[in-house]
Every structure is written in C-alpha cells, then in structure tokens.
Amino acid sequence: MTQTEAMAWIAQVFEMTPDQLTPDTHRENVAAWDSLGALTLMASLDSDFGIVLTDDDIQTVKTVGDLLDVMRRHGKLV
C-alpha cells in the first residue's frame, strides 16, 4: 500500500476525506478520533491488515504520521 492509499484508508476510518488529513494531523484535530474512534481504529487495523494493537500501543499513536509508522512497521506501507 502506498502512503496515498494509506491516507485514504485512514480518512475512511474516521469518516473524512483524504484532503482533510496530513501526516502532521494530530488526533485532537480529528473529531471522530475519540475513545470510540480509537477502538474503531484498532478494529479496522485488525480486520483490514491483521495488525493487533494493545490499548497501550494505541495511546502512543497521536498523529496520522504515527499511524503511518505503525502500518510501515507491520509491512503494510511501502
């Protein structure tokens, strides 16, 4: 998956359009990235990519760029 495709996937998880996000976008600036949104993100990473994160893992993901790093570390982003 390319970064552009990953950004589109992240936008879809948070019910946004890709042009509303950049790697610097902080979770505090994403309305749907609240506690429920974080769980939705965990479920989507699991179902779509087989990436299983713990509660502690997800707390360290504070920006879209952090999320891209997670996907990169799991080999889902080139």
Binding site: L36, L39, T40, D46, S47, D55
Partner: protein, 154 residues
C-alpha cells in the same frame, strides 16, 4: 414498555454466535404512532434487538472487563416490513472479539425471510457502573434451561 428486546435465547455459543427470538405485541403503544393504520416494527428497534442478542452472546462469555454496549452501527439495511405479533428470529455472529471491543454481523428473519441486517460495534462498560447484583434475566433463563452450557466464569 420495558427495554428488554430479546424474549428468549434459542441457541448460544458464548462469544461466538447466538440465535434468539422477540415478538412485539400489537398492544404496544408505539404502534399507535408507527404508523397510524399501518403498524410496523421500527427499524431502530430491530437494530436494538440484534444488538441486545449480540451483546448477550458477548456477556455470556464472562471474560470481558464489562458489559457489552452498542458503540457504533457500521451499517444497517431493512428489507421487509415487520408487523406486530410476528415472531422475529435474531441471529448474531461475533466477527471480532477482543478485550476492549467486539464486532458482530447480525440479521433478523421472519417466517424464513431476512427482514434486516446490521454490522455492529461493541465496547464494554465496567460492571461497577450497573446496579449492584445486576444479572441478565434472559441469560439466566437460558442457563437455567441449559445448565450444562454455562461457562464456569459466569
């Protein structure tokens, strides 16, 4: 009207799948408004029925840090009208089952015909938030009728 939207559990594999039933009698006051002269079960109640069935499937496992609560409706479709007094069969299959969240694919059928379906997302509310000694009467009735199927954790 009480908000117990599952009458009876028919089949249960805790944490995996459940089949349950519900009938909304024509005497329910809501049918005066939904709709006058054309009473049908509201889609939101059908969704809640599926959610309550799926939630009980998760709660029956007894391994989560709280009680399953509907967090999100990922998608829902309504295919047929459901009339008062019709027996509604509720099916839920748990598709993701983690300690902090779960997802379920659900559908309801009447007389062998699928009437609605939904993908549901669950979170878990701590047991301490509920009334002390609270126990689910529908699950208790199932365990009473099927004592050999009750997990030891319950």
């Amino acid at each position: 009207m009480r908000f117990i939207l599952v009458d009876k559990i028919l089949e249960l594999e805790p944490g995996k799948r459940i089949t349950a039933t519900k009938v909304l009698p024509a005497s329910e006051e809501l049918f005066r408004d939904h709709f006058p002269g054309f009473p049908v079960v509201p889609g939101v109640l059908l969704t809640e029925m599926m959610a309550q069935a799926a939630g009980r499937c998760l709660d029956a496992e007894g391994t989560h840090p709280g009680r399953a609560m509907l967090g999100k409706i990922n998608g829902a479709s309504f295919h047929e009208w459901v009339k008062p007094d019709q027996a509604i069969l509720l099916h839920a299959t748990i598709t993701q089952n983690r300690s902090t969240y779960a997802t379920a694919d659900c559908f309801a059928e009447v007389a062998g015909k699928k009437v609605c379906s939904a993908g549901l997302f669950f979170v878990f509310a701590p047991h301490e938030q509920f009334a002390s000694g609270y126990q689910d009467e529908i699950l208790l009735a199932y365990w009473k009728a099927n004592p050999g199927k009750q997990p030891k954790a319950i």
